[in-house]
């Protein structure tokens, strides 16, 4: 029992730290740093954080939050597809405005969702524990954006394409083997003694492996057909974001909500638990299936959207030019 409370405390501390960082980042806006006043060392970093919060970023934040809340509900319902897409807005802000702006958007989104919208039909009193996950999603998107993961790379030369394909297959494979699979097989990977695992989970592991291999094959085919390495970056980024999100949100879901979220994916939790997993494992097992798929699809959608937008437009955001690239041709 005490171990769990240590984890909660750690979570609360981490959230507080994140809030303080967020508020101080936005707090520095009031006094726009003046280069002539001789700011202390480190002011440069604050300056770069402040520069992520232009008026455009500030205007984008509420719109991004609305996109998160509305898009997830309407598109999934209209097309009857189990696609959540409830972090598209946060990811967009991260990519276009920068990691801190993305993290603050994620954090604010969930706090606003809980407190500001509390009395309205859109509010949710259960959103705030996930603020840290939302912040992580925005932060990662910003970092991936900073390192050019969302850039379009059409007509990648063959040698680069082959090297990129191999690297992304290795990264995704490693992520699957050590990040996803052990959650189902009590820590055993395919290189270990799978026979010692409960037969049901052997089947689950094999099923997951088959889906992963198929997904990898599809990715490789896509890469070779389109000759666009950008797709590999996006899929790798989305998968990493998905695994990390699942790892962070699983304990939150378990501790605060007894392992459920009130959506259809709770059936999976029930199934894993019935098959013999403990609750915390079942939640993680469910998350590791849902989140990488959802986040990878979201990343692909965001990638497609960013490249539908006019470059002249994305360039007006603080990190737009760096993340999406400049006009080709």
């Amino acid at each position: 029992m005490s171990g769990r409370w240590v984890r909660i405390l750690a979570g609360v501390v981490a959230t507080l730290v994140a809030i303080i960082i967020g508020l101080s980042a936005s707090g520095t806006l009031d006094a726009t740093p003046d280069p002539e006043t001789g700011l202390p060392a480190g002011a440069h970093r604050i300056d770069s954080i402040a520069s992520q919060f232009t008026t455009r970023t500030i205007v984008l934040i509420p719109i991004a939050i609305a996109i998160n809340i509305v898009l997830g509900q309407t598109v999934g319902t209209a097309l009857k597809i189990p696609l959540y897409l409830d972090s598209i807005g946060t990811i967009l802000v991260g990519v276009l405005a920068g990691p801190i702006a993305g993290a603050v958007t994620g954090l604010l989104a969930n706090l606003i969702w809980t407190f500001v919208l509390a009395g309205t039909p859109f509010g949710s009193p259960f959103a705030w524990p996930y603020a840290i996950v939302a912040a992580e999603i925005g932060l990662l998107a910003g970092i991936f954006g900073y390192y050019g993961f969302f850039r379009n790379r059409p007509n990648t030369p063959t040698p680069q394409l082959v090297v990129g394909t191999v690297i992304s297959v290795v990264v995704l494979g490693a992520l699957a083997l050590w990040g996803i699979l052990p959650a189902y097989t009590e820590g055993v990977t395919f290189f270990g003694d799978l026979a010692s695992v409960d037969p049901i989970f052997q089947l689950v592991a094999i099923a997951i492996a088959i889906v992963l291999v198929l997904a990898l094959v599809a990715l490789v085919v896509q890469l070779l057909v389109r000759r666009n390495l950008g797709v590999a970056y996006v899929v790798v980024g989305g998968a990493i974001c998905g695994v990390i999100s699942a790892l962070i949100s699983a304990p939150i879901t378990e501790i605060f909500f007894g392992g459920v979220t009130g959506s259809g994916s709770d059936l999976l939790v029930a199934a894993f638990q019935q098959a013999g997993s403990t609750l915390s494992n079942a939640v993680l097992q469910q998350g590791l299936i849902q989140d990488p798929i959802d986040k990878t699809l979201t990343y692909i959608v965001v990638f497609a959207l960013l490249h539908t937008l006019s470059r002249r437009f994305t360039a007006r955001f603080p990190q737009g030019e760096r993340a999406v690239g400049v006009e080709e041709g």
Binding site: S2, W5, I8, L9, L23, S24, S26, L29, D30, F53, T55, R56, I58, V59, P62, I63, I65, A66, I67, V70, L71, T74, V75, L79, K80, I81, I88, L92, I112, T114, F115, V116, L117, A118, G119, F122, G123, S124, P125, I255, F257, G258, G259, V260, G262, D266, L267, V269, A270, A271, Q273, Q274, G276, T278, L279, V301, A304, L305, L309, F313
Partner: protein
């Protein structure tokens, strides 16, 4: 830091409007006060921060205490009387039930039937309901209801604009205030936007009822315009705001403010002390046995 200006509102019941050279006539002052969102009961009229602190402490304490007695005490002693005072007892009950219903169904499914336990209550097919599962589900549901009621009470008695204005008086940067306040109006507009876009694409033959493949092809036409047009609007909105001197550094004199009192400040400190005590008791393991 963001909250550094708290001292400026500490001295008076309500922060007096800085009037510069000209002074505000009593009639004008009354008019400006009338711009604040209406507050029908005394509970509504409490400072938003007080209500927010109460909701937050109730929520966190319910989680930290766990079990049945702690959260139910918070509900019966704190939330329900407050909701009664605010005249929204039934409304709040309906709200809390509606919002926790899907989670409650899931909890029942996941905990009652599939959670491992010793004492089997009854069996349906391959699923056996255990006493331990029912107990676990019960605890979670009690907690969620308390949380939904506490935060719902805050939401139903506090206009979001009042919260944002109050926080800005306390030193929250105007930019953060804007982001928070604007979200409220953006959501219904976004729903309208998504609805129109759906109509426009269906008018162009998009099939939302066909095969999975056809429906998957509909994702981009439905999402694309929502985001692209929103982002185009970001440009226009930010220019329109900048023309209104948005982003000028420094303090703004807001038109109205919400009353605060030393009694409310005392209550807020008290709530904080209670929360710290509960956390300390839990961490050191000195929680009374009956909780």
């Amino acid at each position: 830091m963001a909250w550094r200006r708290a001292d400026q509102i500490d001295s008076a019941t309500a922060p007096p409007a800085r009037t510069g050279g000209a002074s505000l006539s009593p009639a004008d002052a009354t008019y400006l006060a009338s711009l604040a969102p209406p507050a029908p009961t005394t509970y509504h009229r409490l400072n938003p921060l007080t209500k927010a602190a109460a909701a937050t402490v109730a929520t966190l304490a319910a989680f930290i205490l766990g079990g049945y007695i702690g959260p139910l005490t918070i509900l019966v002693v704190g939330v329900l009387p407050a909701a009664f005072a605010a005249g929204i007892l039934l409304k709040l009950g309906r709200f809390a039930l509606l919002i926790s219903l899907p989670v409650a169904v899931s909890v029942a499914l996941v905990s009652v039937f599939t959670r491992a336990g010793e004492t089997v209550l009854f069996v349906i097919g391959p699923f056996d309901a255990t006493l331990e599962g029912v107990d676990f589900a019960g605890q979670i549901m009690v907690r969620l209801i308390v949380v939904a009621m506490a935060l719902g009470l805050f939401g139903l008695t506090t206009d979001p604009r009042a919260l944002v204005v109050d926080l800005e008086h306390r030193g929250m940067p105007p930019r953060v205030a804007f982001a928070a306040a604007a979200t409220l109006e953006t959501i219904p507009a976004m729903i309208d936007r998504a609805t129109t876009i759906q109509a426009a694409q269906r008018a162009r033959g998009l099939d939302t009822e066909g095969s999975l493949r056809a429906r998957l092809r509909g994702v981009m036409p439905l999402i694309g315009p929502v985001i692209l047009s929103s982002l185009t609007e970001v440009e226009e909105r930010s220019l329109a705001l900048e023309v209104r001197a948005f982003g000028r550094p420094g303090r703004r004199d807001l038109l109205w403010s919400l009353p605060d009192s030393s009694r409310q400040r005392f209550v807020r400190w008290l709530l904080l002390v209670v929360l710290v005590a509960v956390i300390a008791a839990r961490v050191t393991g000195s929680m009374p046995a009956f909780l």
